[in-house]
Symmetry: C2
Subunit: 236 residues, 2 copies
């Protein structure tokens, strides 16, 4: 076990659905704000609010709910009803209680990967919510270690790899976010595989300048990962 | 270094002020709610709301702000002004931005302790905020490892000790909360030192039945810790 290669895995939108819950809530929020603003306006104010808040609140549902409340007051110029705010809080509770839906064939693929890798789950967001999702995924026993970090920065990857005694040059990370799962891993000397999800939050979308100078493989689905890794890791 | 004993340290209200910020915000919140309810009523509704929310939101400022917003709407029976909700959000931002105030002589005491212990900080709450406080404490370099957990349960202590290869019978935890820093550590076979803080949140207060059957030393201040440990650890 100790000499198996370590494979880092993102969780949200790599192993299970996440962004879809944010999108669905945002869709309802836009409707709630319809008396005061059109959809693109509400969406733009919400995104700006999130962008300003994330550095102090971190990622996850709680910060999203706080940003929606702030946006509701701003967009309505202070005329939103408290009952509407209650509705936003209730959507937050529903998100924090939503069942975990694995992406197609993830359970079987994880079992295959766990046969010849030590699986290190690295996810960011709220601790309580991320742990709840891991626990309800039914996958916990396949993970070697589970790390919830505040931000997937080069600093965070160095710290996680350091504390588990992992040589970055022997580490491979897999995830749907180029800025979080790919670029910082390449920057600390590791390798990364990008598996895009059809829904990606604006703040997780890479710009051309982010990607500039970096090369990494892109797979269509998580199911392809075992065969791809068997080939990629042996060839290099 | 590797053979130095591991000393677990709580952070909030053990190394630096924390509860005082919650109390001050709660005092202002009670004033804000004065048109609708007296102090004890607002405090009781807020505490009930927090007790219901903590299992899904976890600990920390973001959950506290969400509970205040929910309480404001409930206590005012839906007649609170959006401007008041904005005020609550602003207090949250101030808490997330408040400077870290070390308790008396903590910096010098930590330096002394780090000479002959591996210091393992174990704190709970929001990842982003807890990491910010550690970073601004000026103490980071003295800590061997830093762990932010969702809940200080026996399960969490077993996991943290396991992943760092620490034998529970050789582990000592120090903190201001009996339910979080003392009881679960004793239950996993470790030892714990209680250093009460004059402000303790109702949900961190131990009941007589919690303590029943457990024995642990209580110190008046963090400054006493090095001398106490030198005596306690050598005697046993």
């Amino acid at each position: 076990m100790d000499d198996l290669p370590v494979l880092g895995l993102d969780a949200d939108d790599t192993l299970w659905e996440n962004e879809v819950h944010f999108r669905e809530t945002e869709r309802r929020f836009v409707e709630l704000m319809a008396p005061w603003a059109d959809g693109p306006t509400t969406e733009a104010v919400l995104l700006d609010t999130e962008r300003a808040n994330v550095p102090i609140t971190g990622y996850g549902v709680k910060g999203f709910v706080l940003s929606m409340v702030e946006t509701a007051i701003a967009v309505s110029d202070g005329s939103v009803e408290p009952a509407d705010i209650s509705q936003v809080l209730e959507w937050g509770r529903q998100m924090l209680d939503a069942p975990v839906t694995l992406l197609p064939d993830v359970a079987a693929t994880i079992r295959t990967l766990a046969d010849d890798h030590r699986l290190l789950l690295i996810t960011k967001g709220d601790l309580t919510d991320q742990r709840r999702k891991v626990d309800s995924s039914g996958l916990t026993d396949h993970f070697w270690r589970i790390e919830v970090v505040a931000e997937k920065s080069t600093h965070a990857y160095r710290e996680v790899l350091g504390r588990h005694g992992i040589d970055p040059t022997e580490f491979v990370m897999v995830g749907n976010s180029v800025p979080s799962d790919v670029i910082p891993v390449l920057e600390v000397g590791g390798r990364a595989v990008h598996i895009p999800h059809h829904l990606t939050w604006a703040l997780e979308t890479a710009t051309v300048s982010d990607i500039d100078g970096h090369e990494f493989p892109i797979l269509d689905s998580f199911t392809e990962l075992p065969a791809f890794l068997a080939d990629w890791l042996h060839r290099d």
